[in-house]
């Protein structure tokens, strides 16, 4: 329960963070809230030799509407903590799924430390906020030595703890469409309230994303296509596990996970539809 030796660097700006990443290379890890990284370091499952603490970068914490009209996006700074997002008035009005899901992450300690950028970069398939972001659509804004680039959320999470991000880049912002009064639903299935989801389903505006049904968070594309064809919620939800590749653990084997994906998708869609 004691990590391997590492160096610690505290940075005050994105530029400083990027410079440190470039300097230390792939052995470095960015430290934001630390509630995913530090436990696996203590178990020596991750052995970074340099930790670059970005929690002191103050201008990475914000929620704001960017632009006007139907194309306006909600921009969320990567350093925004779950607790801040949960209580943010702009988020609650413009994209209410996100603050709701932020309030379901872990426990109060985790929510006061964890950041949306950190959970996005970590790419744990059992994470709440990436599931919601994937259902919402939008982009992940990365910054690296070559400048900023936007990656659609559908292309960002590529596998178990893997993303489309280069080792010298960092997440600086999340951009999601405004959903306003459009219905949404989030179904998180756990044995205890503060656990990671065994399976979770987020539904909004005809899109459905699933947690823990593959190496990364995934969209329930067969369900979405069925809905687009005019299928009923019950019919569409029965297709939710198609194309997924769930793992097995002590809480759920593959068959049960597939069942949960279908059940939770149905319930999330029903909630979104106000049924």
């Amino acid at each position: 329960m004691i990590p391997s030796p590492f160096e610690y660097v505290k940075v005050r700006s994105v530029d400083e963070a990027l410079a440190a990443l470039t300097e230390h290379g792939e052995d470095a890890k960015l430290l934001a809230g630390g509630h995913s990284l530090l436990p696996i370091m203590k178990l020596r499952l991750a052995i970074p030799t340099v930790l670059i603490d970005i929690s002191g970068i103050s201008d990475l914490s914000y929620v704001r509407v960017d632009g006007d009209g139907p194309d306006a996006m909600v921009a969320i700074g990567a350093g925004t903590r779950h607790f801040e997002l949960e209580r943010d008035d702009v988020a609650r009005t413009e994209v209410p799924l996100l603050p709701h899901v932020a309030g379901r992450v872990g426990d109060p300690q985790v929510r006061h430390r964890g950041t949306i950028g950190g959970t996005t970069a970590h790419s744990d398939p059992a994470s709440d906020l990436p599931t919601a972001l994937l259902a919402l659509g939008g982009t992940v804004v990365l910054q690296g030595p070559g400048g900023r680039r936007e990656v659609p959320v559908t292309e960002f999470w590529t596998g178990f703890f893997e993303t489309a991000m280069s080792p010298d880049e960092m997440v600086v912002e999340l951009r999601v469409p405004r959903t306003g009064s459009i219905g949404w639903g989030y179904e998180k299935f756990t044995r205890r309230e503060n656990d990671w989801p065994i399976v979770a389903a987020a539904a909004v505006d005809g899109r459905v994303a699933l947690a823990n049904m593959a190496g990364s968070v995934v969209r329930a594309t067969a369900t979405e296509e069925a809905l687009a064809r005019g299928a009923s919620i019950a019919e569409a939800a029965e297709l939710a596990d198609q194309g997924t590749s769930p793992g097995a653990d002590m809480h759920a084997d593959q068959e049960y996970r597939r069942h949960l994906a279908r059940l939770l998708t149905r319930r999330a869609l029903e909630t979104a539809a106000g049924v």
């Binding site: 329960m1 004691i2 391997s4 030796p5 436990p39 178990l43 020596r44 299935f189 044995r191 205890r192 309230e193 503060n194 656990d195 065994i198 002590m250 809480h251 759920a252 084997d253 049960y256 069942h259 949960l260 059940l263």
Partner: protein, 763 residues
């Protein structure tokens, strides 16, 4: 009005809540200056031949002072089994020399100047193990194909009882048999294990360690290290929970003392949570088969409980638990015929010890499940089946077919109180409504009626010591052999002394856990403390009054019979002569006013109660949520309701946790898969409703306080009530049994299987 029975707020808490407790790992003590830190290198393989241990790289690591392996232990003999009835070949090495027997088996110890250096250096100890097949289940163990101790010739540590006669169930109209798993759980005290040791120039060693009884721990250290116990000064600092797993000493504690001598410097050790989850004793771990037979009118005529106790790799208290399970097999019921038989088996897993209830919850879980299975089979309400078979109220000792002598009990009243408080008829009506409507969230109502044994002879008898002294400044000190680690003895023992002496609670200091100050004591376990340790304080106060009376008579030139206790002045007054008297403090100023006493209860007590659990079961996902817990827990006279309720709360929560959440798991190679708190799901307040505690008090004649034990009752009662409730919620779908923990996947699968069975029968 007596202070006893009132809700005195815990006097311990201001310090705990402000400064914080001083646990073993927090100790700052001159004797520990320059202490080295011990880090154990533990086997990562469940079972295998230990071929080599190469310490050369570790010895070069920063801060490493020594690396100790089995080759260094020539003056230590392996630890013998703790009980004479266990196969005596099953000894435990201090460090593995030729074989490892579980993941977590100590192989070497690294001693470093700083603790963090230890984990780095421990990784550099190269261990070569030739794996052998793991023995993960009791069924595997019983086959005796792979032996943990080849020299023993078997994996059976001990056998208890005989098979049932072939005609045991003859004549029963209905016989139901069911295999049950009372799964292995981890105690998970917030404070994990820790020890520190320092040798003095006088040849004595001071050992600090977290435990549930300093005197017992000292005795074990003396036995294991072949030392005169008088040369061991054992100190128990504040202890952050034990739940039975800190009874006595662990071999690591003794080894820390040995290491300190070996290197000539103080040594301290504190385990991490990961180490705790494989190294500390686990609990439960029984594979049971219940058979219950009787008439269709609900009368049970014969009951049998046959089981295998998983003991883990080395025999500890787990190996004796079958005797308690067998003793309590019939529980509250007056079954005419009762049979029980148990075996203790070695597996390549963490050793099993006592865990809140220790053998009794396993008995209650079995019989309460059996009653429900019988009720389902004959189509009767489980409350009615219970009522029909409960022992009638008794006020004189009653001896059961298994040989337990219950002190007193009124189980029917307990059940009725619980059912009334729960609104049983209304709950059944609501259940019927939801079944009729086909709701996704169905209601389940689970019952259990229990009796348990507390204050049983734990090897040190049924006695406890107390010393009581009143000081000239009007304060008093109580020395007790009990060992509080959350229970609130400092408050309760002060209340008992205060009640008789009139000295305010806040002026009474309770001291425990230092063998130089309290050489004799039985510790805190088996819910014994109040009925023996508290009773000893009560007895000491009475003796102190008698001592004071003789001295006061002389001082006041009064007849001793004319002197009565005046609680207002905390002293003795002359009857009928207001204003003439002497305080205990004044007498103490003349000469020490001190008594030493031993209270012997001579017999255990048998608390009882009834629990009603109400769950909402999502039948589509299989997830159960406990929505109500209504409990009657009769522990005789209650000294402090606040403390008693605290014990009930914690016990109920741990019982719910076993029913729904907790399970220590191993893969087929014997690797633990629940060795972090990310994987081992202990319960939190979020998963629990507010508890509805119903009062009932039947004083025991076994001690002057009338008190029975309360520490474990909540766990014993709640576990089967919750399990029964989950099954009851799906009973209309054809589900008869789901093993613990009733996980969503398990429940979902049971519902689906029942549906398949029903549709096949329909064809």
């Amino acid at each position: 009005m007596s202070i006893l029975g009132t809700r005195v707020v815990r006097t311990e808490d201001p310090l705990f809540l402000t400064r914080g407790a001083t646990y073993t790992d927090d100790l700052v003590d001159d004797r520990l200056t320059g202490a080295l830190h011990a880090t154990f290198v533990r086997s990562q393989v469940a079972h295998g031949r230990l071929l080599s241990v190469d310490t050369s790289a570790a010895l070069e690591a920063p801060g490493v002072v020594a690396v100790v392996t089995a080759a260094d232990l020539s003056d230590l003999v392996p630890l013998p089994p703790p009980f004479p009835f266990i196969n005596q070949e099953m000894t435990r090495p201090w460090l593995a020399s030729d074989r490892v027997r579980f993941v977590g088996d100590p192989i070497a110890v690294v001693l470093t100047e700083e603790r963090y250096q230890g984990e780095d250096a421990a990784e550099l100890v190269a261990v070569d193990i030739d794996p052998l097949p793991a023995v993960v289940s009791t069924a595997d163990a019983a086959r005796d194909e792979v032996l943990l101790f080849p020299e023993a010739g078997t994996n059976v540590m001990a056998s208890f009882g005989e098979p049932a006669p072939a005609d045991f169930f003859d004549g029963c109209e209905v016989v139901v048999t069911q295999a049950l798993v009372n799964q292995r759980v981890a105690p998970v005290p917030l404070e994990s294990r820790a020890a520190a040791a320092s040798w003095g120039a006088d040849g004595r060693v001071t050992v600090w360690c977290t435990n549930q009884g300093a005197q017992q721990a000292r005795g074990q250290l003396g036995d294991w290290l072949k030392m005169d116990p008088d040369l061991i000064h054992l100190i128990t600092p504040d202890v952050g929970g034990g739940f039975g797993a800190k009874i006595g000493a662990d071999p690591e504690y003794a080894f820390v003392a040995w290491l300190a001598k070996h290197v000539g410097r103080p040594v301290r050790w504190a385990e991490s949570r990961s180490e705790n989850l494989v190294g500390m004793l686990h609990g439960r771990g029984q594979d049971q088969v219940v058979t219950i037979g009787g008439r269709r009118d609900g009368t049970v005529e014969a009951y049998s409980l046959v089981f295998d106790q998983d003991c883990g790799a080395y025999p500890r208290i787990g190996a004796v638990l079958p005797t308690l399970t067998m003793l309590m097999a019939p529980g509250v019921y007056g079954f005419p015929k009762v049979h029980s038989q148990g075996r203790a088996l070695a597996t390549t897993t963490t050793s099993i010890g006592a865990y809140r209830g220790a053998g009794r919850p396993e008995a209650t879980a079995a019989v309460e499940r059996a009653i429900d299975l019988f009720a389902a089979e004959i189509g009767m309400d489980p409350a009615d089946v219970r009522r029909k078979n409960l022992l009638p109220a008794f006020h004189e000792p009653h001896t059961t077919p298994m040989g337990a002598t219950y002190d007193n009990g009124d189980y029917t009243v307990a059940l009725d109180k619980a059912l009334d408080a729960a609104g049983y008829a209304d709950l059944r009506a609501e259940q019927a409504r939801r079944r009729e409507a086909g709701d996704a969230r169905q209601l389940g109502i689970g019952l259990s009626v229990y009796v348990e044994i507390t204050g049983a002879d734990n090897g040190a008898g049924t006695k406890e010591a107390a010393e009581l002294e009143v000081h000239p400044d009007g304060t008093a000190t109580v020395l007790t052999g009990t060992s509080p680690h959350g229970q609130g003895h400092a408050t309760a023992w002060a209340m008992i002394a205060s009640d008789q002496l009139g000295i305010p609670v806040e002026k009474i200091t309770v001291v425990h856990g230092d063998t130089d100050r309290v050489p004799e004591g039985g510790g805190t376990m088996g819910s014994r403390s109040l009925q023996q340790g508290g009773a000893a304080v009560h007895q000491a106060a009475g003796e102190l009054i008698e001592l004071a009376r003789r001295r006061a008579a002389e001082k006041l030139e009064a007849n001793p019979e004319d002197l009565v206790v005046d609680l207002g002045m905390a002293g003795l007054a002359v009857r009928g002569t207001p204003g003439v008297g002497v305080t205990f403090a004044e007498l103490a100023a003349d000469d020490r006013l001190l008594v030493n006493t031993v209270f012997n209860a001579n017999a255990p007590t048998f608390p009882f109660g009834a629990h009603v659990a109400v769950v909402e079961l999502d039948v589509e996902s299989g997830k159960a949520q406990v929505v109500r817990m209504v409990t009657v827990d009769d522990a005789g006279t209650i000294v402090n309701p606040l403390l008693a309720e605290g014990q009930r709360h914690g016990g109920i929560a741990q019982g719910v946790a076993q029913a729904l959440l907790e399970e220590v798991l191993y893969d087929e190679d014997g690797n633990p898969t629940t060795s972090t708190l990310a994987d081992y799901p202990f319960i939190s307040a979020t998963e629990l409703p507010s508890f509805e505690l119903v009062e009932m008090s039947t004083p025991t004649p076994m001690n002057p306080l009338g008190a029975k034990g309360i520490g474990e009752a909540g766990t014993i009662g709640s576990t089967p009530a919750v399990q029964n409730a989950v099954i009851d919620a799906a009973a209309h779908l054809g589900v008869r049994h789901v093993d613990m923990p009733a996980t969503p996947m398990r429940v979902w699968r049971a519902i689906r299987q029942a549906g398949h069975n029903a549709s096949q029968e329909g064809n």
